[in-house]
Symmetry: D2
Subunit: 313 residues, 4 copies
């Protein structure tokens, strides 16, 4: 169970650390444009192994990804305070043109997991590049709205004093400003959220919904304002997804993948609930949406598609 990480900034290195702390994988290869940075992370993470699991962590080049069951891609430029995710696009597209082909050539049987923003566009670019090298599209996926979904569940959990794992609610569409909170499908313990909220003495007012919506949608911006970038949430999300893939767990995550058609928009990568396993995307689950959510998802798909077209993808 060899895992590669390409791009070892805050996100890539935190993902590596999370994998080691939880003992997922037996070998980790860290690859970065600046090998000295990757090596510094390797050393720091290795010092965590006596206190966790003896994972074999080392630096390397693309060739060292041979035999990886999974390659995590977090190379790119980080979102600056105030910058929109889409503004990063052009630079990152060029980076991907340089790294995806050698990754696929070195690790032909791997799943490719994209974390770089703008997430959906980078996932679509990675998929195109990977397919061109002969890899099936179902083996490329992006972390998508996994983190936003996690935020949504955590915020509802805090407000209603229940564990996030007992709250079921998804964020769909773009990992970005146009994302769609699937309120109509939210539930706690099988009970529609609205009904649960009522029973718990704190009815789901428009005010609460707007507050939560803003807190989910603006979370990354807030964290970036406070500490420069986000990495803990996404690191844990990547580790959970890695375990799901490597151990073929078939859990449902709202990851991003290229869909033939969503809400009338064709050939577009965005997040929907998918069953994930050893082969990547195993099945897509189309959630039940309210009229407004359908419209919002259509809008979100269009936003992504427009950006893709603006760079000829």
């Amino acid at each position: 169970m060899k895992i590669g990480i390409v791009g070892t900034g805050n996100v890539g290195s935190t993902a590596a650390y999370s994998l080691v702390l939880q003992g997922i994988g037996s070998e980790l290869v860290l690859v970065d444009h600046f090998p000295a940075l990757a090596e510094a992370h390797v050393m720091d993470i290795l010092h965590a192994t006596p206190f966790s699991y003896p994972v074999n962590v080392h630096g390397g080049t693309f060739a060292d990804l041979a035999g990886c069951a999974l390659v995590i891609v977090a190379a790119g430029v980080n979102q600056q305070p105030g910058e929109t995710r889409l503004a990063l696009l052009q630079r990152n597209a060029e980076i991907f043109a340089g790294i995806i082909p050698p990754i696929v050539r070195a690790a032909q049987d791997a799943i490719i997991l994209i974390a770089t923003n703008p997430l959906d566009i980078m996932t679509q670019i990675a998929t195109k590049l990977a397919v061109r090298e002969g890899m099936p599209a179902s083996r490329v996926l992006g972390t998508g709205t996994m983190l936003d979904t996690g935020r949504f569940r955590t915020l509802l959990g805090q407000r209603y004093d229940v564990a996030p794992s007992s709250v079921h609610a998804y964020v769909l569409g773009e990992h970005g400003d146009s994302e769609v909170l699937n309120w109509s499908g939210a539930s706690v313990a099988g009970v529609p959220l609205e009904q649960f909220a009522l029973a718990s003495g704190q009815p789901l007012s428009a005010e609460i919904m707007q507050q939560v919506d803003q807190d989910v949608r603006r979370a990354a911006y807030k964290i970036i304002a406070g500490k420069g970038s986000t990495y803990y949430g996404i690191g844990a999300a990547i580790a959970a997804l890695s375990r799901c893939i490597l151990f073929d767990e078939r859990s449902v995550f709202t990851v991003s993948s290229v869909m033939a058609e969503v809400e009338g928009v064709t050939d577009v990568a965005l997040s929907l609930p998918h069953i994930i396993g050893r082969k990547g995307i195993e099945m897509t689950i189309f959630p039940t949406l309210s009229v407004e959510e359908h419209a919002a998802l259509s809008q979100s798909a269009t936003v992504i598609k427009t950006h893709l077209q603006s760079i000829q993808y």
Copy 2:
């Protein structure tokens, strides 16, 4: 974080083992009518500590439960092949009259978790006895249909090739023959099970439902026929619930507790989804039921109540 286990047959000892393997709790006290049996389990479980967590496991008497945050009760007589759970009632009621008062007196701040069958009746008896000693009723709960719920989710997961953790479905009412599978509230990834089943190419036929129903309802009988008794599933369930209580996780579990009224039946212990935390039962969630499920739950409550009345509780 001291945990007591009273009754160290297969269920109690497997629970202890599960707690040690997962590093839940720092001290475990095993109490049994046959101290030599408890001591043999203590030795065997201690031999697992070099390979897991250095939990302080030892045998003891009721007095040694002082300071426990949680006391698990699995004392009783095990279900014999073919025997109904209710047939065990009388003997176990007597055992509880002898053990619950000294447990509560020794461990006044503990949560009391009942695993002994017939589960709901034993939970109600334990609650009565504990309340008599001055403990709030919300601090006594039974494992209830936690295991049945787990079975339900596992079977649906197997059939539809998705992780049980991504399947949401509850079993309610009696932990026994009259239990109610809440099909109408079952979902995968927020999508009603029926719709998910259709999308996955294997529609939810009456035949599949009946098969699953039988497999859930008859699981314990089948396992008992094959190996004498059941203990692995319940051991893991007890460990998960213990962690939830000790770490105040506030997850939702279908445990049994005494309800003021359910479907018109008053003062009866049965399983519904509850939020569980450091104080025991924190909130009850009344699920949405179909007409048939309402009737079945009413029937289940009546079955339990009748048995309770037959022994003047």
Copy 3:
């Protein structure tokens, strides 16, 4: 990461349960002479998956072991109260003649891990049978004195109030009556045990040593007297060893393997510290022994060899 378990009595099923609780492996195949027993364990263990990891547990035949990275063998007859481990020999040798060849044929790249008693003899028999099928001897090992070593460390830890993981002490030779406690090499935190004991105010008297020696040597007998057989300690040991093998952790364990020569005795399986990894036995570490320990190890090797010869192996 597929793991097979052949022989699903108490030891095999507890090992399976331990693997699931700790999320080691993604697929578990249980094989037993009585398929109904294996199936009952499969059901019971599956009911633990919603509370731990979604491991794919199922029953099967030898053919279903194809693709296993590890096959654990716990088939055999259990030690009865009072019975010596060697008395079980003849029956178990026959069982192995029937199961090892089909295991090796089905799972050619697996490591074979033996738990059946008398452990060293069964390991040697298994090695011979496996080598005959073309498997390298280094891929067959027995749990050996892993458990005895764990007992030794636990008992010293309890006596001196320190975690067993901080006590270093090995039991060598036969997993049985002639085993050798390597007192001369025992240490706590790098300090010889004798010196540590002195500093802790409880010098290492002959009395203490004899007590610990008896407690280690007689532990299995005591547990068997109290509850019929031992399985928790060995289950956790097997799980730890499985993780070490599957994740190529290269930890040191006192497992049993066929040695070319030990203390003048040739071609004999017994326990010494070995570095264990993905290829099985990676390196043997010959410990420093006192004169008495050399003699005792020689004696232990002779005991095993004599038994082997008595059955023409």
Copy 4:
């Protein structure tokens, strides 16, 4: 099990993240001079809870530390590239005068764990300040050479292809340039390292020793040169130590604490192996040293003492 973290820069926040990923503790309070920074970390770490454990993480002031069983202190100024650890001293001493008293007053029953550099001096300062508030000295400790010990074991493990957990070797004295690698006590599987190295075909040459010595001693400098500061290793070390304290595990760690006398130097904080438990330092283990190591430890103690005296402590 409430844990406080004061100082939420890279080290404090990584420690918090590690605790959440491993489910250690049920409540985490983050306190920083810049509350907005602590809040940004709280948000980011909370987003990891749906993928790990539902720990209650929140920001706060000193008053919010009430009820903590453990308070981790990582407030201070980080080591700059090229800067010696001792150069940071004066600024950090002032910070501690401002934070230790309110911590002790709010969390009277807590263990205080110091991570701030220069580690030993800060531990001694913290101890003085805590004792002045009525706390026993044994309840204040510093991470000391825990990390250096981990590095030493990891490097030896890599070189000899064995898990770090099977290598036993300590770094003693100052967490800094004068630290002492206890080569004479190093062992693998109970066998002296020198002998093991010989057997493994790679004898322990002066060259290898010097290389390892430099790699241990210069590790922090190298990592700081590559990525600005170190935090993964120390984060995992803090988490392991936290678990040991909260669960009263009584493991041995080379943490720093004020010793009445070491090698003739009185009243000085430095690292030696200690048994750690719920009450903090439970016992000190004086390792066996070579003549050179005695001299080096004496020298190391003198270095620390001199610095302490230079600031009148």
